[in-house]
Symmetry: C2
Subunit: 450 residues, 2 copies
């Protein structure tokens, strides 16, 4: 009899696990269960669908259940929500969300890839119409419909994380007036305050009204429809709102089924992806992993980490013994005309993790100063003393230049020191760089602090 | 008394050595001797000055002798050619090229940074007017004048190296009809034939007539002026020609002064930059170093390697004990709409160096397929068997994407395997990448061959 694999969650981690397992062991009988209507889509693409830069929603979708079956031999059930795992009986109890029918899936091996869940602030009005979060493809479609209807003129974004900033960009590009409220003293907690300030300036340059240190107290509505946002002191009228005050691993099913939850709040999983239940794996945003720099338990909300962790679990489903080393939280985003890349620990995180850390920031160029079309490139390196070992890096500059964060992510993976970074043989030509890459200029300047 | 440092050669390596030494030891009395009229310029910028993309020649110049003296406290003598080193007397015998005056410079420490010299094919007519090589800023000015005069309509490029391709681009952008002749069976010997073919297609798409396997037998002229180029079979009329059939370390002064020449043909130098003569260093394109992958003696014609080697020599001039580890020959260039990046060994070079090598090539995208403006990205990895250790990499794609060769240069420096590359935590967002970076897709596909 063919071994049955059930994968709960049909995106980055789940799809990577299912695809990798099936490729290595074509005999596996794999079923992917997904609560939403879509599988295998890029949630990262939603802002570009909302803005209209991407015309059709289906451009964001890699596989439908039909093409997945045909091209990869993997079955997918959408609109089916897993409610409980019965490990003794090796079954997942589910419900078909449209018919209400109870469904039961038997497994030999199970993968939990339930992703993340946006945090909702505990205030009134979060359930009003046109108050959105972005965690499903459907949310993008809803926002786009709201915008296409022409009824939205003013939008409030609550929270200055990546999603908030990307949506501010998307909404502004459609001519919407945009207010952004962030409770903390800076945007983007994933980077340090000085770098986040560069993003704030970029937002403001593009007409976004940014309010830091500002708590939203209530979404005010009438007959279920959003009318405005109340901060302590004022009422800001708006007809669309987006909440991005944080996200957390979606552990609902795991908790209900008695799985161990790790220190980070995500489902406990070892480097093979195995949870506390026999033959049950977890992967992706819902699963615990290790921060490669601090060595501490962590979860990642990135699609990249999810896909890599999922791939490792897929190999283990197929009988290999693969390990996922952990995450550096390497990311890059484009916000209006600026890119922002980061990897490893910020200076703040390094101090919180009790590293004897120092920091260097420089301003370079992404191409030869005489070559047309160039932009400034801000590079910040966080390093340990007295060794000069890299602990993290941040880049703000043109979007393509910020992909250079990868260079530093590899350096970080290999535990290079500033001295070793200074000696790297990096590429140069006037249209794409400077003789001394800004990364190396930063390393050279940082060396003076050791 | 202040220690006297004489640096022969006022570009990448020489300037890096002088500047670094002076910064670390402000007391040093440093003189830079340069045979040409300019110091501290980017020879890599010449094609963009010829094309007119860069308006003024002085935009390519970082320092004049005056600003170098004022800002860095370093003396420079231009138009002065070093003829011989007298090590017993610690003197360099020079001649002022304009006055003919003999000059004598005393040194405590000497740096030879005489760079490279373009090879001239042993055929008739290389001395005709409007037959150029590119090794000095002056050459760019001469070509630009020839083009600005409006008398040039058809150009022949002899040799399909980087300079040849960049100049083909520059000339074409000025409306010149361009013929390119390459004796070998491919363009760009620094990359493998399949990748070079992509560049050939790009050249042809842009109207360059590319002739491989074609030897130029003669530059034909009349009254000293170029009329055309003879291949064995035909006479191609042209009024401007550029020679790029290769370059070699400029070792003339070193040979005349009795310095040891290394196996590679460059001036023998250890990892500190010390030559066979006491207190005499060599750095840059004229100096021998090590290929970091093969471990063999090598020289590099890249400005980046020269600058890094020069910096190390500068530190040693100041009494440190710095070492230059060697070169990966990492480079990136933009040719018309394509970029090309490379690092380490090509497949051909790996076989020549007796590695048990294999290769993987994939075609990916430089951003999410649904995100506008994307381009294909061809990634080729060369790796050793059975370990999967990376030996070299090549990328052809959009210019900014090719800067990702740096990611692979670091991986190569750290001797990563395909497996480790597959696990790297690289950045993604739709405008600048794909969920699985093409670099990792290549590593994943390559793993199947192990």
């Amino acid at each position: 009899m063919r071994k049955k694999v059930v994968v709960i969650g049909g995106n980055s981690a789940g799809m990577a696990a299912a695809s990798r397992a099936k490729r290595l062991s074509p005999d596996l009988d794999i079923t992917v269960i997904e609560a939403s209507r879509f599988i295998s889509y890029g949630i990262c693409g939603v802002p570009y669908f909302v803005s209209g830069l991407v015309d059709r929603q289906d451009e964001l979708v890699n596989f439908t259940p039909e093409t997945l079956k045909k091209q990869r031999g993997i079955r997918a059930r959408t609109g089916v929500k897993a409610h409980e795992i019965l490990p003794g009986r090796r079954r997942v109890v589910c419900r078909d969300l449209s018919s209400g029918e109870k469904l039961d899936f038997e497994y030999d091996q199970l993968v939990i890839a339930t992703g993340y869940r946006p945090t909702l602030p505990p205030i009134q009005g979060v359930d009003l119409q046109n108050v959105f979060t972005v965690s499903l493809l459907e949310h993008g479609a809803q926002m786009r419909r709201a915008l296409d209807s022409g009824e939205c003129q003013r939008a409030a974004i609550v929270g200055g994380g990546y999603v908030g900033l990307l949506m501010a960009d998307a909404l502004r590009s459609r001519g919407i007036e945009v207010y952004l409220f962030e409770q903390g003293r800076q945007l983007l907690p994933q980077i340090d305050e000085d770098m986040a300030e560069l993003l704030k300036v970029e937002l403001e340059k593009n007409g976004i009204q940014v309010h830091l240190n500002t708590r939203v107290a209530e979404f005010r509505g009438e007959k279920g429809t959003l009318q405005g946002i109340c901060t302590g002191s004022e009422l800001v009228p708006c007809d669309l709102a987006l909440i991005d005050v944080g996200s957390a691993p979606n552990t609902e099913l795991a908790v209900k089924s008695g799985l161990a939850i790790g220190q980070s709040g995500a489902i406990q999983a070892d480097s093979n992806g195995l949870t506390s239940l026999h033959n049950v794996f977890a992967a992706g945003n819902c699963a615990e992993t290790t921060n490669l720099v601090s060595g501490e338990p962590a979860f990642s909300l990135l699609a990249t980490s999810a896909a890599r962790q999922g791939r490792v679990v897929g190999e283990n489903l197929a009988g290999m013994r693969s390990t996922y080393p952990g995450t550096l939280e390497t990311s890059v985003e484009k916000v209006f005309g600026l890119g922002v890349g980061r990897t490893g620990l910020t200076y703040r995180q390094a101090l919180e993790n009790r590293f004897d850390a120092d920091v260097v920031s420089i301003e370079g160029f992404d191409r030869a100063p005489y070559y047309p079309g160039g932009a400034k490139m801000h590079v910040k390196l966080v390093f340990g003393k007295p060794t000069g070992r890299l602990l993290g890096a941040q880049i703000v500059g043109s979007e393509a230049a910020c992909k250079r964060i990868d260079t530093l992510a590899v350096a970080l993976s290999c535990q290079l020191t500033l001295d070793e970074i200074s000696q790297l043989d990096l590429a140069y030509s006037p249209p794409v760089g400077t003789l001394w890459d800004p990364i190396q200029i930063a390393a050279n300047v940082g060396l003076r602090k050791l």
